[in-house]
Point group: C2
Chain length 392, copies 2
């Protein structure tokens, strides 16, 4: 077991009509001028944006808005947000959306509270020393950014997708109304569920010790997501299933499922390069590489993959052949991905990788051959090339 810190200060307001409380929540934080940050037109069309504006106005809170955040959110939009916030003396950012919008809000918040170029934080050239306070209204269960300390931004110059973690950016509140996710297309629901699962799987697959309690929580969370995402493929307005997946999304990435363990995170790193270069949906990208990663590394910790197979996927344990159980678990996970129409190869993402592109992806992912990724098995550039080849 590893020592750990656990810090999740975000106030969660979970349930129906939570968005109507946004004005009073901002007011309680003594903030005066809000940037309402969002993505496409769905928040407008559904009337959500108007309800939020009403709630803010009723609490005497002034606001400006900035939409147009895209998946794999762009640095140029972050700069636009920082300029707007400075011009308008914004002291609070309200993100309405999923991980992309929240991550963009966090980057803008960094830009407002620090003097240097915000991209320096993502390139690890500098460390943030503050962040403007952020609140969220979640409309997509996936990234867990509503409680997490992380933000991932894509720089269009070079299409680099990079993350920055710090406790400063953890949102002050997160409004989670499962009904706001009813209209998500099945592909986004499935991709989001995959992202949620992977946030726990990345922490679960570890080489060192972990905690029995953390394992039990993680396994319960993964079973819950698998079960309820399948329900949502057939019944997208099932409140209970939407709620289970939404709450799992937050707990999966707020730190809880990593207490006492080190984690792996190789799949996230491998996918970040794919997402930066080809703009694929993050969860789908993770599903596309996971099986190949798992088959490449499982021998480094067969017991762990067997435990995953039995406790998460209900694979019968072959007591005489643990490796067989482990491999059956990888197959069962891929069968689950297929059942929710997620890809299990990069080709299924609509991306045909040639050898040169694979080398470029691996070169970027290894930070020009200067790092390895992964905890179950440390992967160097050659290993990454092998996994991309297996997965393409």
């Amino acid at each position: 077991m590893q020592d750990f810190n656990f810090y999740t200060p975000t106030q969660v307001v979970f349930g129906k009509k939570g968005e109507d409380k946004v004005g009073e929540l901002v007011k309680a934080l003594n903030c005066k001028k809000v940037l309402v940050h969002f993505g496409g037109n769905s928040a407008k069309k559904s009337g959500l944006l108007d309800r939020v504006f009403d709630s803010l106005t009723q609490s005497g809170i002034d606001y400006v808005s900035l939409g147009g955040v895209v998946p794999n959110p762009r640095l140029s939009k972050v700069y636009e947000g920082i300029d707007l916030c400075k011009k308008e003396n914004v002291d609070f950012i309200l993100a309405i959306g999923g991980g992309s919008v929240i991550d963009s809000a966090k980057a803008i918040g960094y830009g407002m509270a620090n003097d240097c170029d915000v991209w320096d934080f993502y390139m690890k050239k500098a460390i943030p020393t503050g962040c403007l306070p952020i609140g969220t209204i979640l409309t997509l269960s996936a990234a867990g950014s509503e409680m997490s300390n992380s933000s991932v931004i894509t720089n269009e110059e070079g299409w680099l997708k990079r993350g920055c973690n710090s406790d400063y950016c953890r949102p002050k509140f997160a409004i989670m109304n499962p009904e706001l996710t009813y209209t998500l297309p099945p592909y986004q629901t499935a991709s989001g569920s995959t992202d949620i699962l992977m946030h726990t799987m990345e922490r679960y697959f570890t080489q060192g010790g972990t905690m029995e309690l953390t394992d039990g929580i993680s396994e319960a969370l993964m079973r819950t997501v698998i079960n309820n995402s399948k329900i949502l493929m057939k019944d997208p307005t099932n409140y209970e299933a939407r709620a289970e997946v939404m709450w799992a999304g937050s707990l999966s990435h707020n730190g809880l499922t990593g207490c006492g363990s080190i984690g792996d995170w190789a799949c996230h790193q491998l996918e970040h390069e794919l997402g930066g270069m080809f703009d694929v949906a993050h969860g789908a990208g993770l599903a596309a590489v996971w099986g190949s990663w798992a088959r490449y590394v499982y021998k480094a910790n067969v017991a762990r993959f067997a435990q995953f197979a039995v406790n998460v996927l209900g694979v019968p344990n072959d007591f005489s052949d643990q490796e067989k159980t482990a491999l059956a678990g990888i197959e069962a996970m891929e069968a689950y991905y297929k059942s929710i129409d997620m890809p299990i190869s990069i080709k299924e993402l609509g991306v045909e990788l040639n050898d040169d592109q694979i080398k470029e992806l691996a070169y970027k992912c290894s930070f020009q051959n200067t790092r390895t990724v992964g905890g179950v098995k440390a992967l160097n550039t050659e290993d990454m090339i092998e996994i991309y080849k297996m997965a393409r």
Copy 2:
């Protein structure tokens, strides 16, 4: 499923030597003068208190100290603490101990941040509007007060044991070093483990809906505590087992295991009267009444008791007779209590109740016949009398 709020701002520092960081943690909060609050002499004898003083001094933090907090912490000590804090201009309270010391610190904190008599908050005559910041160094896994919003104090006048809940009192940080619990006597370890279990069981046994994810987390937590408390009876310096129980103690009462459900809490109310009148160890008191409570109410939700039996205690499911499964679960739980030397009757607490005392307990517990307690089944004064009689 119920709507819920979830708010756990406490920064957890978990692992070996965490107590050496206390000075820097207080300093980061910009506090200058600390009340070091503790119980008996064990913190002194073990050298922990001196290490804490050193850490504070090294960070340039001034302090005064007040020991002598007893189990079922007393209101008179709270008043003493408030007087001392006012005299010494204390702006931070550091509780070193378990739930009793932390609850006492919270009450002192309320007294410092509000003008009225602090006991009014516990008698529900007033609502606190603030609390002095609190930090904790945990030396006993039980009450979960290190992350919770609750505080329970006993007023020697009338021996009333009453609780007050508010988010203001949630500690700023909790230092959790499992090694600090190595020297606990087996009875305290067992009583603490029971308290931890009961904090989740009180939330788990519900009449309305809950969440699949919350159930899974709760069941994992209960299995973990049962498993590791049994290990600790034989091997009290087992770091992993101490750590599992310690982390479970915090998660069991920070709100996580109640997300989406209403909860019961009858056993806590029944025990509070016993604790107030006879000064029994809280966890042991809970164990003494639980089985009788369970047999009295299980028919109101047989499915829930059967799920508990199978998923927590590993009782084989009798698919043809769910009630049989439910009752086997109650028996298995009592067998577990016996295995860690916890009482399953009030007599085993060393308390011989006569009928008049039972009536007095029930009368107090029902707030003079003005309320019922319990969620699985609402219990009035007559029900309480029956349960006390079954349990004596």
